[in-house]
């Protein structure tokens, strides 16, 4: 064990205390992520409530969220939509659950 000291910043506190429910594994997140980003692109961030397990997983898993952001940007670009605005939609969809 090292002498490393930890900084419990607001972001770290959010990561530690974000509500992880409903349960969804990383593999299941991968299986659904294409549908989820298209739902957000087609219907806006409010539609995330229709896939609550995806929303909770992306709020709690930094790796899956990083990959979801890229997929969203690519799918938005294919539709001629603004990728930055699309990513804001993803962030907004998770805002109630906090960021990891």
């Amino acid at each position: 064990m090292t002498e490393h000291r930890h900084n419990l910043t607001p972001d770290v506190v959010r990561r530690l205390t974000v509500d992880p429910h409903p349960w969804l594994s990383c593999d299941d997140c991968f299986g659904l992520i294409d549908q989820y980003v298209e739902l957000l692109l087609d219907e806006g961030p409010g539609a995330a409530q229709r896939m609550p397990a995806m929303r909770a997983h992306l709020a709690g898993c930094a790796a899956c969220r990083e990959e979801a952001q890229t997929l969203l940007a690519l799918a938005a670009s294919d539709r001629g939509l603004d990728p930055d605005e699309a990513e804001s939609a993803l962030a907004a969809s998770a805002s109630e659950l906090g960021k990891n």
Binding site: S25, D34, E67, L97
Partner: protein, 219 residues
Amino acid sequence: MTAISRSAGSHPVPVIETDDWVARLSTPGPGRDAALRELHALLLRAARHQVSRMTALVSALGAERIDEIVNQSADEAMVALLGKLSTFEGRSRFTTWAYKFAVLHAAVEVRRHAWVGREIALEQSVEPCSSGPTPEDYSEAAALSAAITTAIDTVLTMHQRQIVIAVLIDDVPIDILAERLGSSRNALYKTLHDARDALRAQLIATGHLSSAQSTGWPR
């Protein structure tokens, strides 16, 4: 519902029907060869996009190595995708479904390169920094930090503490830690899930978090 704006001067990619992609990729012949080339180009684009978003992690690698990562990721994604082609149900555009394979492989590969040679210390307790919040939010923030530190020490198992500290506090990527521990991303995420449940239950019991709150400070 909030509509997402169309990019200025954008040209949406024409939609090739899903059935067409699957049929072309499944039917031997020149049509399949062409479809494979088109698919590989899509995967390259997705892999390059993912790598380009991780500049902080790839800045030390040369352009040649970055190009290798992009190509390797696209190749691996191609194999993975073709192995799953029969499972595609058309619930999204085929291109969106395809991109995710390249995005996953590229992200994992970049993180792997970034963590080569870096030691990961599995710590068993949280030692808060001496520099705390400002006087204005000292009371609430300090109380919550102290409660979280106590909860980590008292309600989590040693394994949960190690994973929580590494992934959620020290920012070790979950797939890298899984690889080092001979575990899986799924298994470590389940550990985080159970640990968050335990932490939240303790913080609710001590009055530091309400059951309706999705996260702690700031409220």
